[in-house]
């Protein structure tokens, strides 16, 4: 089977897991359930829960306690998109060709839907306590989920990004934004897979390093594609960063250096993977695909 087919199959399997943990659309608060589920179902390739599950498998994990965490990371990722799209933030009306949550359900309900997804992620993750005797691992995973999502993770990156909108971004802050805004959730995903799979502290640290490399490579590649890709390939107008005078890795370092760096960081990620015990050829292929993607 080709990687593309395999990926489509895994995406479907991961989606079925996430779907299981979505709230039933019934009761007085039905509207929020609809808004939450609408937002999650509009999602893409489900890379975060997929990376989580594959890392769990790499360490030999076979239990079901990974599943609530897979749903949780997707809920948190979705919550950040719902709030990012709000009029007071990016003011986006479309995402993946569908009306954004605030357009569909109203501004107030979109604020609440983002909040609800954030909290429900933790409610969902906490279900894992009853699914394994390894409650300490679950506790550690909940801690990582919060750390990498919060002010020293995703939201921290988001804050700096919002503050620098329409301003030139110095190099250290751009790396900070990339590391936190994009990287932190990938780190959480893979670290939680490792923790629940029984990895030791040194292995968890290696997984964190690997995920950080993947996040950075992914982000640099994004900036390169904005310059070199076609609108069809990347699904948005090309050179949109340049037109918006946005500081990117490419505007700071040039496209050739960016190419070299994405190559280096990708190799670092694969090197980390190979230092880890266990084998997961699909995970390796997935990482390769992510960092060298052309759209």
């Amino acid at each position: 089977m080709e990687m593309r087919e395999k990926l489509a199959e895994r995406t479907k399997a991961v989606e079925a897991v996430v779907e299981q943990y979505l709230p039933k659309e019934a009761g007085h608060q039905k509207t929020i359930f609809e808004a939450m589920n609408y937002s999650v179902r509009a999602g893409g390739k489900r890379l975060r829960p997929m990376l989580m599950q594959e890392t769990y498998r790499l360490f030999g994990g076979t239990g079901a306690e990974i599943e609530p965490f897979m749903a949780a990371i997707e809920m948190i990722h979705t919550s950040s998109l719902v709030h990012d799209d709000l009029p007071c933030m990016d003011n986006d009306e479309l995402r993946r060709g569908l009306p954004t949550t605030w357009v569909k359900f109203g501004y107030d309900m979109a604020v609440l839907a983002g909040d609800a997804l954030m909290i429900y992620a933790f409610e969902t993750a906490a279900k894992a306590f009853a699914m394994t005797a390894q409650t300490e691992r679950v506790g550690q995973a909940v801690g990582v989920l919060a750390q990498k999502t919060g002010i020293y993770g995703m939201i921290g990156g988001q804050v700096v990004d919002v503050e620098l909108t329409d301003k030139p971004i110095p190099e250290d802050k751009l790396e900070f934004i990339y590391r936190l805004k994009t990287g932190a959730l990938l780190e959480a995903s893979m670290m939680i897979g490792a923790i629940l799979g029984g990895a030791c502290a040194a292995e968890i640290a290696k997984v964190e390093e690997m995920a950080a490399c993947i996040g950075l490579a992914f982000q640099i590649q994004d900036d390169i594609l904005d310059v070199t890709g076609t609108a069809e390939q990347i699904g948005k107008p090309v050179l949109s960063d340049e037109k918006n005078h946005k500081t990117t890795y490419v505007t700071l370092h040039g496209v050739e250096q960016a190419h070299r760096d994405v190559e280096q960081v990708s190799q670092d990620a694969i090197a980390c993977l190979r230092e880890l015990p266990g084998e997961n050829p699909f995970l390796e292929a997935l990482i390769q695909m992510l960092v060298t993607r052309e759209k």
Copy 2:
């Protein structure tokens, strides 16, 4: 010492605990730390963490693992106020005489500050895993924190309240809103105190019932004070509910029935407390004060 003085003293002690867990205002994401801390520091009597700690003491708890949860419940309570005040929600510019978070830090930063407080509450609570050998209790407490805060708790009540703004509210929905929007966080506070204090399942259920009664009594009393209190007593214009054609317990049942019901529900709360093992005279006095308060 009079109850008023005792309360002031305990509020100060609880504030010192909460303060310990607030983020340091340093680093690239400084603005969000400032917005979070500004919002939390603008708070009132710290009743939720106080009720949590006193319930913990009722069950003989003496450890420090209650402290991160005390900070967490106050962060979540604050996050809901920050988002409630947003222009797309209640559009409030003042809270306790201070500019609300969105007025002070901007609309986008207030959305992010609410998000940040919500997630940081879980990051903070997760610190308790390293503070006690009773990790299962901590896991259960994290689960309760999420449940009572989320779509089947505080946010669920908020959603129904927002949907019924400027509309007549049927009796069952009003009770639903009161139970969830006001009651759920009190239930979380006291249940977490009981769980970490080592209460058994039946005791935790009794504590939940007690907290629900306190929440309902508190809320009915609020509606009564809007009709019978002076502006000075309640710190906002009297009859504001009536002027806004807002459905309240008093508009549905009349002020006399409301008085009788608050009395009954308060007695139920005290009866629950007396059925529990252990003694905590301050907790009993605190509950009495909450349900019979005149402001």
